[in-house]
């Protein structure tokens, strides 16, 4: 990217949007050529961002020799399912997939439940030490994950849950950022809503479960997306929490595949096919909730 395009594009982004000219001609007339440049730049960048994924899918259907000789084409000359057949019928890939799915489901459920419970308590319930608990949760968010590789292994080992589903799932069940998000959301709900239920004689849990939680759908969906993505894509925790092949997750398995432990030669179609399948669940999730993920404040500006 050169400096000149950068400048031009910035001119373009700002100029048409807020031209304080009282006559209503604005962007429609003036910078047609600039508009064209802008779209050209945007399309070029978008291609750079998307093309790798298209190549990835295309290559997974190519033969190995074609992947090497013609890496860039999007249409395989000899279309073959060999990579996928091999993955599903003659490898541990289905097992990895199942493991990832199990962990992801439990972690997501756990995070939704525990984070909203704690978020509610921190936002609404009065108890001594609330401030300290919240401060601790925030402090914990600042600890970088990579620094915890060895520490986590030590504790998991000490607790005797090394190399088990418990060791994979338990430490991920709670997420400080999730607590933070839920707390912020619950604070935005008016207290009067709960008062009503309390007068009707509902206990604290009841108020939380039947009144407040259903109102928290937007925040819950955010947590679901984050924990799904997080636990599906998690790698380093599984590296330190497990060793046996039966507990290998997709990330661990595919990483082993990538470094060539399971095969000779480059095997690009096979590796890329594995990466494609691994990406599908997050991609589906992404496209279902795309509006919510991308909508930072869409609609704030009238089109």
């Amino acid at each position: 990217m050169t400096g000149t395009t950068l400048t031009e594009a910035r001119v373009l982004t700002e100029e048409p949007l807020r031209q304080p000219r009282p006559t209503r001609q604005r962007w429609v007339h003036a910078p047609l050529a600039w508009q064209f440049v802008l779209y050209a730049v945007l399309i070029a960048i978008a291609l750079i961002y998307i093309y790798p994924f298209l190549v990835q899918v295309a290559t997974s259907f190519k033969t190995e020799s074609e992947a090497a000789s013609d890496p860039i084409s999007l249409i395989p000359q000899t279309f073959t399912f060999a990579a996928y057949e091999r993955l599903f019928l003659r490898s541990d890939f289905p097992l990895w997939f199942a493991n990832s799915a199990i962990v992801t489901v439990f972690v997501t459920l756990g995070r939704v439940f525990f984070c909203s419970l704690a978020g509610y308590a921190l936002a609404r319930l009065h108890f001594r030490g609330r401030g300290i608990v919240f401060a601790a949760v925030v402090a914990v968010m600042a600890v970088p994950a990579v620094v915890l590789l060895i520490p986590k292994f030590l504790v998991i080992n000490q607790l005797g849950i090394y190399d088990s589903y418990a060791g994979m799932i338990l430490p991920l069940l709670v997420d400080a950022a999730g607590v933070f998000i839920m707390k912020n959301f619950f604070e935005s709900i008016p207290v009067s809503v709960e008062e009503q239920a309390r007068i009707d004689g509902a206990g604290t849990f009841r108020v939380f479960w039947s009144v407040v939680l259903p109102m928290a759908r937007p925040a819950l969906i955010t947590i679901i997306i984050l924990s799904f993505q997080g636990s599906w894509n998690e790698l380093n925790h599984f590296i330190v929490a497990t060793q046996s092949p039966e507990l290998t997750t997709l990330t661990k398995g595919v990483a082993a595949l990538a470094s060539g432990q399971l095969s000779q030669g480059s095997q690009y179609p096979l590796k890329l096919a594995a990466a494609v399948i691994m990406t599908i669940p997050v991609a589906v999730m992404f496209f279902i909730f795309q509006r919510r993920i991308m909508n930072v404040s869409e609609g704030a500006v009238k089109e």
Binding site: E14, A46, R128, V146, L235, M278
Partner: protein, 369 residues
């Protein structure tokens, strides 16, 4: 924040008081979080701190009686020992420092650029563009690394594209040459001045510190920029949409051109977001692990070795737990120091006097009070 911060009246008798059982419920509700964070975050950090000061060999419990306290020995052997551990640590710091130096500015600039591009209200299909830019951010680092190994392989897409313009691309992930050294070599400089080659730091000569990221590391740098720019773009878009147009218009009335408006008006208003993006970028960049584990395991020639991966490999592969833990804590310290430095550098400053004078055109002399 709501008004609930004020402590509720605790005395009985008034009748309203704290609701019965509320304190208990509060603790019960937060208990799972406290337990899990305590057991899997707090306790581990303390335990690892102990391991970093001990000679634990990986067998039995690190808390058992026959594990000895060795003080700063582990830290010393990776910083001042002068042996292989020191050299490896130096190399990993060198690699990661170059990575940070290139990735953080690039990803920040690119994501701001993308945000400015797609933030226009009248842009058609901006949803599609945003999706395109953001999509790489949701895929797993493992999957992206696999893709990258293919794209940047000797006969891969990148080299194919480079060949169109007559460039014979390198064998990216096999090439340990530093790009600064490569650039110097193009001018015929292949050895550094004695001042640089004969003095060293952490077992690595200054000439080698200045080698630049290896070609292999450069591929990872491009990958990091590619995968993170979308996330940060979203942050910048959110910030841009919260800016009011008034200041822009005022600047426009004053005759500021687009570049001045961006540089003098928009950018200062984005300061908090800029801080967030830089900090997150910095924290993330010092933690490069997944890519290295999946892709190169530190090779070629240790030029993609990072402290995070070195910490893992010395503990889990080399069984040198004390050193691994020590590296982790040094890494932690580095991240904290950089974050604090950034906070300090980007703090809200009162307008300097020199600056202030620019806005007061006809001032005879500085008023002395």
């Amino acid at each position: 924040m709501t008004t609930t911060v004020a402590a509720p009246p605790r005395e009985g008798g008034s009748g309203r008081g704290i609701r019965r059982g509320e304190a208990l419920a509060g603790w019960v509700f937060t208990l799972p979080v406290i337990l899990i964070l305590g057991i899997f975050l707090l306790a581990p950090v303390l335990m690892a701190l102990w391991v970093s000061f001990s000679d634990w060999s990986g067998r039995g419990s690190p808390l058992s009686a026959n594990v000895r306290f060795v003080g700063l020995d582990n830290y010393a052997s990776i910083t001042t020992g002068g042996g292989l551990p020191t050299r490896d640590f130096g190399i990993s710091l060198r690699n990661n420092a170059w990575y940070v130096l290139l990735v953080v500015p690039l990803q920040t600039a690119l994501s701001l650029f993308l945000a400015m591009l797609v933030n226009r209200a009248i842009l058609r299909g901006r949803g599609i563009f945003r999706t395109a830019f953001y999509f790489p951010s949701v895929t797993s680092s493992v999957a992206i690394t696999v893709l990258w190994l293919f794209l940047f392989s000797a006969t891969g897409v990148v080299n194919e594209v480079l060949s169109w313009i007559g460039i014979n691309g390198p064998n990216w992930f096999q090439d340990p040459n530093g790009i600064v050294h490569n650039a110097l070599a193009a001018f015929g400089v292949t050895t550094g001045p004695p001042a640089l080659t004969e003095n060293d730091f952490l077992g690595l000569s200054w000439w080698n510190w200045l080698a630049g990221p290896s070609v292999a590391m450069t591929a990872f740098i491009i990958m990091a920029v590619f995968t993170t720019s979308g996330t940060f773009m979203l942050l910048f878009i959110a910030a841009l949409q919260n800016l009011s147009g008034d200041v822009q218009e005022a600047a426009m009335v004053d005759g500021a051109n687009a570049w001045q408006r961006f540089w003098r008006v928009t950018l200062p208003q984005l300061r908090p977001t800029l801080f967030t993006v830089l900090t997150l970028g910095l924290i993330g960049c010092w933690q490069v692990f997944d890519q290295i584990y999946t892709g190169t395991q530190g090779g070629p020639g240790k030029t993609t070795l990072t402290p995070a991966y070195l910490s893992y490999s010395s503990a889990f592969l080399g069984q040198d737990w004390g050193q691994g833990a020590a590296i982790a804590f040094i890494l932690f310290a580095i991240i904290v120091v950089f974050t604090l430095f950034q906070r300090w550098a980007l703090r809200e400053r009162p307008v300097s006097r020199r600056r202030a004078r620019q806005y007061q055109p006809s001032q005879p002399k500085e008023a002395k009070r």
